[in-house]
C-alpha cells in the first residue's frame, strides 16, 4: 500500500510549469496565480426534485436557484449554478483539509442513490486561476463581454462565460478577486492570455 501523501506528490496541475511565469507577470496592480487541486464534483439534477433534496441534505445547503448564484456550504465548500439542472460543487484540496475527490464523489453518489440525476468527479476537468488586485477587473474586461461592475456582478457571483474565445467559469470571490476556471487543456492559453493583458497594470 502506497502512502497517500506520496500519491498526492504525483499530482501535477495544468499550470505547474507556469508558476514562475505567473509570479513574474504579477505586480502591485494585478496578480495571478493558480489555485490547484480543488475538488470539483459535477451535479445534474432537476431543482426541487427528490434528487435535489437528497443532494442538498448531503451537502448541508441548498442548490443555487439561478444563474450567477453560488451557495456557500460548510467545510469551505461551495455550489455554483452552471445551468438549469447543472451545478458544480467546489471543495478544498485534500492537502488543505479537504476530502479525496473520489471520497466526496462517493458520498454524493450514495446520497443520490437510485434517484434520477448524476454525480461525476470533475476535479481534474478544470483548474482555477485567481486574478486579484485593483486592475483585475480591467484585465478581465479586455476579454469578457459581461458586465463585471459590482452592481451587476457582485461578490459571490459566478457564471459560465467566454474569456476571449475560451469557455470559463468566472467567479467573483471578493471585490478585487476573481476566480477564472478554464478546462485543463485550455489553462496554459488562458493563463498566457491573462498575463498578456496584465502587463500594462503590473
Amino acid at each position: 500500500m502506497v502512502d497517500r501523501s506520496s500519491v498526492l506528490e504525483r499530482r501535477r496541475s495544468p499550470l505547474h510549469a507556469l508558476t514562475e511565469e505567473l509570479e513574474h507577470g504579477s505586480g502591485a496592480g494585478v496578480q495571478l496565480h493558480e489555485v490547484p487541486f480543488l475538488a470539483q464534483i459535477g451535479l445534474r439534477v432537476r431543482p426541487g426534485s427528490p434528487s435535489a433534496a437528497a443532494l442538498e441534505a448531503a451537502l448541508a445547503g441548498p442548490l443555487p436557484a439561478g444563474v450567477g448564484q453560488v451557495t456557500a456550504l460548510p467545510a469551505g465548500r461551495s455550489t455554483l449554478w452552471l445551468g438549469p439542472d447543472e451545478y458544480l460543487v467546489l471543495a478544498p484540496d485534500e492537502r488543505d483539509g479537504g476530502l479525496d475527490p473520489a471520497a466526496l464523489t462517493a458520498e454524493l453518489v450514495t446520497a443520490l442513490g437510485e434517484l434520477p440525476g448524476q454525480v461525476v468527479d470533475l476535479s481534474a476537468n478544470r483548474t482555477t486561476l485567481e486574478l486579484s488586485g485593483p486592475h483585475a477587473q480591467d484585465v478581465l474586461d479586455k476579454s469578457c463581454r459581461l458586465d463585471l461592475d459590482p452592481q451587476a456582478f457582485p461578490v459571490g457571483h459566478a457564471v459560465a462565460t467566454l474569456l476571449e474565445s475560451v469557455g470559463v467559469i468566472v467567479w467573483r470571490t471578493d471585490v478585487g478577486t476573481w476566480r477564472v476556471m478554464p478546462r485543463a487543456s485550455f489553462a496554459v492559453h488562458v493563463a498566457r492570455w491573462l498575463l498578456d493583458g496584465m502587463r500594462e497594470y503590473r
Binding site: 500500500m1 502506497v2 502512502d3 497517500r4 506520496s6 500519491v7 504525483r10 499530482r11 501535477r12 496541475s13 495544468p14 510549469a17 487541486f37 459535477g42 445534474r44 475527490p101 473520489a102 437510485e114 434520477p116 440525476g117 448524476q118 461525476v120 468527479d121 470533475l122 476535479s123 481534474a124 476537468n125 478544470r126 480591467d138 474586461d141 479586455k142 476579454s143 469578457c144 463581454r145 459581461l146 458586465d147 461592475d149 451587476a152 476571449e164 474565445s165 475560451v166 478546462r183 485543463a184 487543456s185 485550455f186 496554459v188 492559453h189 488562458v190 498566457r192 492570455w193 498578456d196 493583458g197 496584465m198 502587463r199 500594462e200 503590473r202
Partner: protein, 977 residues
Amino acid sequence: MTSRRLATGGLIGRDETIKFTLGSTTYAGFAGDTVASAALANGIARVGDSIYLRRPRGVMTCGVEEPNAFVRVEGGYGESMLPATTLELADDLQMTWEDGIGTLDQSVDDAEYDHMHVHTDVAIVGAGPAGLSAARAAVATGVRVTLLEQDFALGGSLLGRPGEQVEGRPAHEWVQQVRAELEAAPNCRILLRTSVFGSYDNNYLVALEKRTGHLTTEGMSRQRVWHLIVGRVVLATGSFERSLIFAGNDRPGVMLASAAQAYLGRFGVLVGERVVVFTTNDSAYPVAADLAAVGATVTVLDARPSAGCQLPPAVDVRFGMVVVETLGDEVVTGVRIASADGSDVVPQELECDLLAVSGGWSPNVSLHSQRQGALRWDERLVGFVPTAPVARQALAGAVLGTSWTEGCLSEGAAAGADEVSPVHAGERADRAGATADLWLVPGPHGDLATHFVDPQRDNTAADVVRAVGAGMRSVEHVKRYTSISTGLDQGKIGGVLTIGLLTQLLSAPDMAAVPAGQPGQVVGDGAEDGEVNEGGRATNASMRPSPGALGTTTFRAPFTPVAFVALAGRSRGQLYDPARLTPSHGRQVELGARFEDVGQWKRAWYFARHGEDMDAAVARECRAARENVAYMDATTLGKIEVRGADAATFLNRIYTNAFAKLAVGKQRYGVMCRPDGMVFDDGVTFRLADDRFVMTTTTGGAARVLEWLEEWSQTEWPDLDVWFTSVTEQWTTIAVVGPRSRQVVAALAPDLDVSKEGFEFMAFRDTTLASGIPARIARVTFSGELAFEINVSGWYGQSLWDDVSAAGESLGITPYGTETMHVLRAEKAYPIVGQDTDGTVTPQDLGMSWVVSTKKEFVGKRSYERASHNATGRKQLVSLLPLDTTLRLPEGSQVIEQAAAPEGPLDGPARMPIPMIGHVTSSYHSQAIGRSFALALVKDGRDRVGQQAVASFGGRFVPVEIGDAVVYDKEGTRRDG
C-alpha cells in the same frame, strides 16, 4: 516660408515645442497642435496632390472630414492615409504627404492592439457643448456615464471659439471646468481620442481609441477597440460644414470657414491675411469677425440678398455675390466673382490668400443612420436631420440642427437626464437663419471640369452630369457610377453636395422624359419636406426634386477608418487560437515530438529521433507497435459519462448496434448515425454499472456528440431518465500497444491479472497502480495488436506517462504519434470519421454491416430502407494497392476505371470528362506489408476486389489493384498477443 502663427491666442502650449519632419524638412510646432495646424503655422499651403488629376491641394478642413491633407507616418509600421487634421503632433513624427492614396507597409506591424468590453448606463458620443452638458447632467443622476470624444481635446466646436461666453465665462474655461467636474465624478469615464465607428442593435457601440503616441507604458496597446453595451446613447455628434461647388474650389487656400476659424481660435494660426469669405448662410459672419479682429482684411460674399444676423465691423460685405472661379498659379491668389443672379456679365476679381467657404451645415447623422434612424430633409435648415431618435437613444445639439451654444447646452442637459428637449423644432431654423439653396455656381468657361464635388476622389460636377446623362437617377447609382463618397471620408464632404447637385440636374427641362417613378418626373403636388426614400418622386410642381426625395446613400460602419490589426486585437501569433494541451504534453515535447493540430488540440504527430525524417520515424514507430511495445497519448478522445435508469435504452437508440445487454465491466465499439443513416461519430463505450456508462467519441466530435445526446434527450425522448456530463478533461489516457504490452501493464498494475484468460478483449478493470494512482484499464485496440488503454485522473497524467516510460524502458518501449496510429488503424481498415467518411457514408459502405442491428430501432435505421441506400453504385471502402509498391497516392486522388484512362503519357489535358468511380481517403506506407497502400471509397468497390483501376492525381494516371479494405491480419489473430 512665413510663420502664420500669431504671438498670442489659441489653446496650444507655446512653451512646449515639438519637432516634426514632413518630407525632408524639419519643422517646429507646439503641444496641442495637429499636424495640419502645425503645417499651416509653418506657412505650408500645399499638401499632397490629388489622387488622379494630380492637382495641388491644401488643408481644407479641421477634422475627420478632411479630403486632401493625408500623411504617411514612417516608423516601425508605416501607417498611411492619416488625416493631418486629426493627427496629434508628437515628438519626432516623421511624415510624408500622400497624394490621395496610401501605400501598404508590407512589414509586420508589431505594435500592440487590444480590446476592452464595458457596460455603461449612458454613453455620450461627442464632447462639444451638447455632449459636455449631457455628460454633466447624466453624471448627476448617479448612473455610469461614458463620454467618448474622437478629438484629443474636449470642447467640439467651442475649441474654435475659445473666447465665446458660455454660462458667463470664456468657452475654454467652461470646458475645463466641466472636465474637472466629470473627472472628479466616480461614475464617469472620459475617453478622448476615441472615435465611435459603429453603432449596432441593443445599443452596442464599437469605438477605436488611439492610445500610444501620447502614452508609453510597457504592455500598453497602441490602439484599443472598445465594445460598449449601453443603456442609453446620447448622440451629440455635431455637424459638418459644407463646401460649395464652383470652378477651382479645390485650390490650396480654399478652406471651410469653420476650419479657418478653428485654426485661428484653437491653434493661433491665421491662415490668410487677405480673406474672402464665400457664404450661403449666417454662420460665416462670426468667422469673418474673428479673422478681422486679428487684423485680416476680410470681404464677405454672401449669395443671399441679405443676412439674418448683425454684420461684423470692419468687414466688407457684398450681398448677392458668388465666387465663380479661384485664381492663382498654385495656391489661391484671388477669386473671380459675379452676382448670384447672373446679371453681372463681367465678373470682377478680388485678390486674396484665403477663401473661406460656407455652403451650409450637414448634421453628422452617421451613427443615428447606422441604426436605421430615419432622416428628413429640412428645407429651412437645408440639411438632412434625424426625424426622431432610435429606441433608447437621444440626440442633442448640432446633429439636430441646434446651432447656438445655449440651445446645445439645454438640449444636452435634457438628453443627459433623459428628459424631453426644451428646444422647439421651429426655433432651430429660426436661429440658424436662411441658407441659400445654392448647389452649383456655373463657371466662366462653360465647363464643370474643376467644380469638385468629392475632392478626395477627384470627382467633379461634370462626373455627376455624366452619370445623370447615362441614366443614373438614384443617389446610390450616381455614387457608384462616379465613386463619389467612396474615399476615406466616406462622403462627409461630397455626399450632400452630390444630392443637392442632383436636384438641380434632375430639374433641367430635358428631365421631363424621365420614366415614371424616377426622381425628376413631374408630379402634381408634393410635400414641402420630403421623407427620405419615399419613392424618390419629385415633390413639387416646379419639377425640382428636393434632396429629401432623393434620399441619402447608406451610412455604414466604420464612421472613421479602423485598421484590421486593431480589430484582430491580441488574437495574433501565439495568442491567435488556443492550443489545447494534455497533461503529458511537456514530456512529449522533451521526447522530440512534432505536433499536429487536431481541432484545437496539439497531438504528437511523430517522435523524430536524431536525424530521422518523418517517414523513418513513422516506420520505426509502426514496427515497435507491431513487433514490440509502444505507447501514445490518447487523452484527446472525447469522453462523456452517461447515467440514468434509461441510460442503456438511450444508448441502444443512439448507436446502430445493441447496447442494452452490454455487461457491466465490458466495453463495446459503437457507431452513431444521423437520421439520414450516415455515419456521425464512433467510439467505445464502457458500462460501469447498470445505470452508468462512459462513452468515448472522436477527438474532433466530442462537443458535437454531447450536444447531439442532449438534443435527443431533451427534445425527442424527454421521458427517458438519462444524464450526460463531459469528462474529456477529467481523464488522461495512455495507450500501451504491441505484443509485449502485457508485460508493461503487468508491471504498472501488479494487482491486476492481465493474462489472456484473466483480462479478456473488450473488458476493463478499475485498479490501483503500483504508484498508488487509481486507474481504469481497458483492453481495446485501434491497431489490431494486443493493447491496453490506461485511464487516470488528469492530475496524474504526467506521472502515468513517466511510469509507462519507466515500466517499458527495459523492453525498449517507443512513444508514437498520430501518424503511426493512422497507419496501424488503416492496415486494419478501422475508419476515421471525417477522414474516411464525409457525411455521405453509411456503416454498410464502410463494410461494417455487422455494427448495424436489424432487431432494434435506432437513429438512422429507417433510412436503410430507402432505395438510394440499397441501389448499386454506392461508394464502398476498399483498399488500393499501387502496382508501384513505393508510390504513396495523394489523399484525395481520383479513382477511374482502367478503360477510361488515357493511353500513354499525356502531353495535354485528358479527354474530358472521365467518369470518376471513387477517391482516396487515406494513404500510407505500411511496414507490416512492406509496401504502400491506400483506403478509398469506390463505387461498388467490394464487387471490384481483385480488379485493377487507375488512380489519377497531378496529371498522372497510375495503375492500382482494388483489394479488401483490411490489408493486414485479416483473421484478427494479433489482438490477444
